[in-house]
């Protein structure tokens, strides 16, 4: 315990310590020389690409996961994505993606022009948007992709005066923008989407010379520049405005690597520089990995973590420290020895009433320690101190214990994830579980979920999902589907569509479909089914869901994917989709509609289509020919009525045109009734008569029409003649009413004698001849008619122009007699 400070090195006001994480057991023929190495932050995996012989090696800290033959072209840069996939940027600009186990996943290209100009240098970077790649090409142009999962290539503007590659460059992510900072000799430029700006770091002495190396901190907040005269400038990277320090390292050779070593809330950010065989690193070539709170140093033998000693650890372990935590630790140690000194120490802390603080310090320090025995002694001290406190909230203590247990488990060399507590907090448990899952430590992941009591849908379900997706690679369809279903069951939050998507990725379409059957939400099923080209199934699933939007999505997709015939056939079997598509066509593509009906042999709809089209047509000839097509189709559809109606319409149109030409009557497009009306109004009785006969207009209709038209034109003589032409099919009461409407009582009277006996009373009433009405009613001996007359008498009594000569009582008596 006393030796805890043995590996601490002071620098400025802070201490730094180097902790050995693992002893590497990879067999290296040439150490790390002649190979590209990339290690992911947060204790991520390490990838190596050895140039001779071309082999790629992937390992997780200690254990080698896979070694495979490199068959592709020369690799410029390696990197890891946020989901633990290896990116290999090749010289020709293509990027290959492998998973942790060395199987190829996919590839993409950084643009056509790169193929010729070649990639000179590439960098893989992480931003809030995901994993990005930046390259500089042989023609000195930069190309960026901020998120490789949603690939959008951005070609940055030209840098003035740049030949070949710049002397050094980094990628910065600030203000939601990704920029490139580069130096070309003494000049420094910032490149963003649209412009290239020259910048000058403040306070960099002019004789410092040109910048040969630069490094940006893990959080993109700090920047370090190294010049060829050995000056090291550090400052804030945002607009390069604040200078932190400038040091002359007296080293004129360019360091091989330069990495920031700081932690959140660090007292002093510092930079680790590495030259070929110098500085705090053993002679072997090694690789530095910038972490959130330190630097990981990977050499061929060891993997170590260099970090600033956290403040709380300093407080406790500094020699002769009197911090409450240190005293508590000491008290506990004495207590274990059964020494009464324990009481003295305790009392000392209690007198300052710092016991709570002491416990807190011990707990926090424990979380920063890597060695389990140190963790234990600190936690025991904390628990000891806790006993003397009445109102101490134990949550922090409990959660720290739990988390440390998890961390210790993942730090095991068989798992090989050297996470610090700070990193763990930053990364969150979800991500940790994901990463364990990527490495196929399903058992451990589930244990952790159970141990930390994470809700199922966040924890266990996710693990199961991955497990199921992975499982597919080796068994038969049926057995997998069953196995997956048994294990996953109805765990909340497991998306079967996701598992199915993985199955499809592995080329197992049938399995994917089987798995999709377990998916409850149609919105999740349909897109995948489309991707798998199971359009029929997708369509029926969409229709089942009752979600019109989904149906429409599938229909549009099908329209573009299939040839027309197949497309229509598919729709035919889905009435809902078909009606939806028809609606759309009616508004958007009339011609498609016609094809659709044609394909279906739907003569009736086809005929309707022609008729509709005829209304849009201005020219009469076209219109008639369209109508003729409609007639043909109606006949095919055995709809005689419609065929006849359409033929009539054609006949009427021809007739109208003839008259329009001859008389300029302006009839075209009117209905039969309106045409006749217009003709009668124009006095063209003969033509109207012709229509009446040709179109077999019912007598009643024609009589009403003529009656009204004559009355409106006040041709009373004509009207009388007409009334005598034959027996009126509409009776003569109509004549009276129409005349009365035109306020011609005189004419109306002429027809009273002609009405049928049943209507006599009404007729008299219509011309306000109450007396006549009363007589007629009495004659007919009809109660209700009598009543009607009487009610009229009372309303008009006194004010009406006609007064019945006989008093009511007489009429009443007459009535009563019956």
């Amino acid at each position: 315990m006393a030796f805890i400070t043995a590996n601490w090195n002071p620098l400025g006001e802070a201490f730094y310590r180097k902790t050995e994480l693992y002893e590497m057991c990879w067999t290296l023929r040439d150490g790390l020389r002649d190979s590209l190495v990339a290690a992911a932050p947060y204790g991520g995996p390490i990838g190596r690409n050895i140039i001779t012989p071309p082999v790629a090696v992937l390992s997780v800290s200690v254990t080698c996961l896979s070694v495979f033959q490199w068959k592709s072209g020369p690799v410029v840069q390696l990197g890891w994505t946020v989901s633990d996939e290896l990116l290999c940027v090749q010289e020709d600009g293509s990027v290959l993606i492998y998973d942790l186990f060395g199987s190829f996943k996919r590839h993409f290209s950084m643009g056509q022009e790169v193929v010729q100009s070649q990639v000179l240098e590439a960098k893989v970077f992480h931003s809030p948007y995901g994993t990005g790649i930046a390259i500089v090409t042989g023609s000195s142009r930069f190309t960026l992709a901020t998120n490789i999962d949603d690939l959008k290539l951005r070609r940055l503007p030209e840098v003035p005066g740049l030949q070949g590659k710049p002397s050094c460059w980094v990628v910065l992510t600030q203000d939601r923008q990704t920029k490139v900072l580069l130096s070309n000799g003494p000049e420094l430029y910032i490149l963003d989407n649209t412009s290239c700006t020259a910048v000058c770091p403040p306070g960099l002495s002019p004789q410092a010379g040109s910048i040969v190396h630069m490094s940006v901190s893990f959080s993109y907040k700090y920047l370090a520049l190294f010049t060829d005269t050995g000056h090291l400038w550090t400052g804030a990277s945002l607009y390069l405005q604040d200078k932190l320090s400038e040091v002359d390292t007296k080293k004129t050779t360019t360091p091989k690597q330069m990495v920031w070593c700081r932690r959140p809330k660090s007292q002093q950010p510092s930079v680790v520089l590495m030259w070929d065989r110098l500085l705090m690193v053993t002679g072997d070539p090694c690789v530095l990995v910038g972490e959130l709170d330190g630097v990981r140093i990977i050499s061929s033998v060891y993997q170590e973590l260099l970090q600033e000693v956290p403040l709380v650890c300093q407080d406790i372990f500094k020699i002769a420290s009197m911090a409450p935590g240190a005293l508590l630790l000491e008290a506990h140690r004495e207590y274990e020895k059964s020494s009464q000194k324990a009481d003295e120490y305790l009392r000392e802390i209690k007198e300052q009433s710092m016991l709570g603080e002491a416990v807190r310090q011990c707990v926090e320090a424990a979380s920063h320690e890597y060695d389990t025995s140190t963790q234990k002694s600190l936690l025991r001290a904390a628990s000891f101190g806790k006993c003397f406190l009445t109102d101490f909230n134990p949550d922090v203590f409990v959660s720290t214990c739990r988390e440390l247990r998890v961390l210790n488990a993942v730090r095991e060399s068989s798992v090989g994830m050297p996470l610090t507590h700070t990193q763990f907090k930053q990364m969150t448990l979800q991500v940790l579980i994901d990463r364990l899952v990527y490495r196929q430590f399903y058992q451990l992941a589930i244990e952790i979920c159970h141990y930390l009591k994470i809700p199922d849908y966040q924890g266990v379900s996710r693990v199961l999902k991955h497990w199921a997706s992975c499982k597919q690679k080796d068994l038969s369809d049926e057995s997998i589907a069953r196995a997956v279903c048994v294990k996953v069951g109805d765990s909340p939050g497991v998306s079967y569509s996701h598992i199915a998507a993985k199955a499809y990725e592995c080329g197992r379409t049938e399995l994917a479909i089987k798995l999709l059957d377990f998916e409850a939400r149609a919105g999740e099923q349909v897109p995948l089914l489309l991707k798998m080209k199971r359009s029929q199934l997708a369509l029926s699933k969409a229709v089942e869901s009752g979600d019109t939007d989904l149906v429409y999505t599938v229909v549009t997709y099908l329209k573009n994917e299939m040839n027309r015939g197949d497309f229509f056939m598919t729709l035919r079997n889905q009435p809902v989709a078909l009606s939806l598509y028809r609606q759309f066509c009616k508004l958007q593509e009339q011609d498609t509609l016609k094809d659709l009906y044609n394909q279906d042999d739907d003569h009736h709809e086809l005929a309707n289509y022609y008729v509709t089209a005829s209304y849009r047509e201005k020219r009469l000839d076209t219109r008639l020919s369209l109508l003729q097509s409609a007639v043909d189709e109606y006949n095919k559809a055995k709809n005689e009525f419609a065929a006849k109606a359409t033929e009539d319409e054609m006949r009427l149109l021809r007739f109208q045109r003839k008259l329009d030409d001859e008389k300029g009557a302006g009839l075209l497009g009117l209905s039969l009734q309106a045409t006749m009306e217009a003709l009668l109004a124009l006095g063209l009785h003969k033509q109207a008569e012709q229509l009446y006969r040709d179109f077999r207009v019912p007598d009643k209709r024609y009589w009403w029409l003529k009656l009204k038209s004559l009355a409106e034109k006040e041709e009373w003589e004509e009207l009388e003649k007409f009334s005598r032409s034959k027996k009126s099919p509409i009776g003569y009461l109509a004549f009276i009413e129409v005349c009365m409407k035109c306020n011609n009582k005189y004419e109306a009277k002429k027809y009273v004698s002609k009405v049928t006996p049943e209507q006599k009373v009404k007729a008299h009433l219509a011309i306000s001849d109450l007396e006549g009405a009363a007589d007629a009613a009495i004659e007919r001996r009809n109660d209700s008619e009598m009543g009607a007359v009487l009610s009229r008498c009372t309303t008009q009594d006194g004010s009406g122009p006609v007064k019945p000569k006989r008093p009511h009582s007489v009429a009443q008596k007459e009535c009563n007699k019956k």
Partner: protein
């Protein structure tokens, strides 16, 4: 008229929250486009929008000028254009034209499309096809429910009817489900849900889905039971002439979004007046549910009362007059104004109705409902067509004839159709196609039903396609069976009894005692039994699709709870004011309160007009 309220009526929930929610969302959306902007509003959204946010609120949120969407080139000079539209392809296409015209003119503007109540993939596809998807931003304004009155909520989606029932397009079903879910989460949990009809079932299922996905917050229920009903369950009721005051006003003056415009003939001046018709209008509130024959009596009584209230002034001293002026006069004045408007409206209604032989028309309707003297009715309809009285009215009578008679005889069908075409033009062939599709106007199949079935099935075997199969079944399903239903539910009271319209016995009073609306009768029967048991024969005649389900758990089921007597009735495809009046009457009789949710307020003319311009 004196209604004996059986029990104290429970309080209705307060729906002003719905208005507030959508208003806040609209303001949020407008603020998403900072700076001055011109707002284009779809024509049929103008009135609903006005109920939510008036011009001054819009101006407060930097709306500069307001335009109606008219499918014409845009004259606006603003840098930012905002479109508030329904998700219709036609409108989106117009916007594409606007944007593309700006592009060719080299004008650079910002465009924002706000779809209400939701956006459809089809619209976005149009944007994409026209190449402007990247130039505009789109948003959704979930304006699902507009409270028209304290007991009427409307989705304001008249096209729901033709889209679902005619075109078979289910795009709005989800909207209805969402609306129901909103009511459930604000005023639920519902204890029981009943429904009838295919669409109702879908809405119910979509709502259930949303309930299961979302989390349930337990609170005191304000609405107990829910009844969902498809419009095609009962087409007879909306096709009858309305004779209750509110319905008549709607038939004649057309109430739009709870607001009616009375022309000069009503106001007896040269100006038109826009009047809000709801329970705030005291005079209207008292006559809205009355049979029209009672309205005059009531109004004159009211006028006398007003006069006495005015006359009180005479014997007053200064102090009393002061109190009178400050307290009562304003109310009296307002009541006076309302009274004179409603008297004017009633007179105008009388004038219009006597002109058209309204009595004859009603007599025919009643005979049709009773199934009495059908020949006379047919000749009345023929005469109606021959005299060209009214295009819509003739069609309405034809439909009523067909539904009540379970289809027309082939001979009658042909001759009536031919006469109609002669009167109003051959383009109405399509109208008849639509009517047949809906089952509103059909030809009786020769032979009895069994052979019809056989021939259909025989055809199916030949066709072997699923599409045809559903077609065949749906046309089979379109049998109305009105006569049998009417007997089973005794919808038509015996005609020999005198019906006193002043003291209504049952819901038949809304049709002068001649017919109890089928839709309301169903609701009454189901509520009475608390299930569909005992109504099996009826549902079979209505072609099934009925369901009853317990609502969500945690609902308080005790009958004592007031909320259990508040019943939400959702009409899918629209409902009429007469039906609302009938439900209000039922509520008073049984101690319920009904809340009507409808996709739109409808009546016979709206129903039929929706079918007219379907093809052209």
């Amino acid at each position: 008229m004196a209604h004996s309220a059986r029990r104290d009526s429970p309080e209705l929930p307060d729906f002003s929250m719905l208005k507030r929610l959508v208003k806040d969302q609209l303001i949020y959306l407008l603020e998403q486009l900072p700076g001055k902007k011109d707002l284009f509003i779809e024509a049929d959204l103008m009135s609903p929008l006005d109920r939510i946010a008036n011009v001054s609120i819009l101006k407060q949120h930097e709306v500069d000028k307001l335009y109606k969407v008219e499918y014409k080139p845009v004259m606006s000079t603003s840098e930012q254009l905002c479109f508030l539209i329904r998700p219709r392809i036609q409108t989106v296409k117009w916007i594409c034209d606007v944007v593309n015209a700006d592009k060719t003119a080299g004008k650079c503007r910002r465009y924002k499309l706000i779809f209400t109540p939701q956006k459809f993939y089809a619209c976005e596809a149009v944007l994409e096809e026209e190449g402007i998807f990247g130039d505009v931003s789109t948003d959704e304004w979930t304006f699902n429910l507009l409270p028209l009155d304290e007991d009427i909520l409307s989705l304001e989606l008249p096209e729901f009817f033709q889209d679902y029932f005619l075109a078979g397009d289910q795009r709005w079903v989800r909207t209805a489900g969402t609306a129901l879910h909103l009511l459930h989460s604000l005023y639920g949990p519902f204890s029981k849900v009943y429904g009838i009809g295919r669409c109702s079932k879908m809405v119910y299922e979509l709502w259930r889905e949303q309930v299961e996905e979302g989390e349930q917050k337990a609170h005191q229920a304000e609405i107990g039971k829910v009844f969902l009903i498809d419009r095609d369950v009962d087409f007879v009721t909306p096709l009858c002439s309305q004779v209750v005051y509110e319905g008549l006003v709607d038939d004649i003056f057309r109430i739009k979004c709870g607001c009616v415009e009375f022309g000069p003939d009503v106001t007896s001046s040269d100006k038109s007046v826009k009047v809000m018709l709801n329970s705030q209008d005291k005079v209207f509130n008292e006559i809205r549910n009355e049979h029209f024959s009672n309205v005059f009596g009531f109004l004159s009584q009211k006028a006398r009362n007003l006069q006495t209230a005015y006359d009180k002034r005479r014997g007053m001293d200064i102090k009393q007059i002061k109190a009178f002026v400050s307290e009562e006069l304003k109310g009296l004045k307002q009541e006076h104004r309302q009274l004179s408007l409603h008297i004017g409206a009633s007179e105008s209604i009388m004038k219009k109705k006597t002109k058209q032989d309204f009595q004859e028309l009603l007599k025919t309707e009643h005979s049709l409902l009773e199934g009495f003297e059908i020949r006379e009715c047919i000749s009345f309809i023929e005469e109606h067509m021959n005299r060209q009285v009214s295009m819509i009215e003739s069609l309405r009578l034809l439909c009523l004839l067909s539904i009540t008679e379970n289809g027309l005889l082939p001979k009658d069908y042909r001759s009536l159709k031919a006469q109609y075409l002669q009167s109003y033009g051959v383009d109405h062939l399509f109208t008849f196609v639509s009517l047949r599709q809906l089952g509103l106007l059909v030809e009786q199949q020769p032979g009895d039903t069994l052979t019809v079935m056989e021939s259909k099935v025989g055809k199916l075997v030949n066709d072997k396609t699923a599409g045809k199969l559903t077609d065949a079944f749906s046309s089979l399903a379109k049998k109305s069976n009105f006569r049998a239903l009417s007997r089973k539910l005794s919808l038509v009271p015996k005609s020999d009894e005198e019906y006193d319209l002043r003291v209504p016995r049952d819901m038949a009073y809304i049709f002068s005692g001649a017919y109890i609306p089928l839709s309301c009768k169903l609701i009454e029967q189901v509520l009475e039994r608390d299930s569909w048991t005992g109504l099996e024969e009826v549902t079979r005649l209505l072609n099934g699709h009925e369901f009853a389900a317990a609502g969500s758990s945690g609902a308080d089921l005790s009958e004592k709870n007031d909320a259990q007597r508040i019943i939400l009735v959702m009409f899918l495809g629209g409902c009429t004011f007469s039906e609302i009046s009938a439900l209000r009457f039922l509520g008073r009789e049984r101690g319920y309160r009904f809340i009507v949710v409808t996709t739109a307020i409808t009546n016979s003319s709206r129903l039929l007009e929706a079918l007219l311009d379907n093809h052209v």
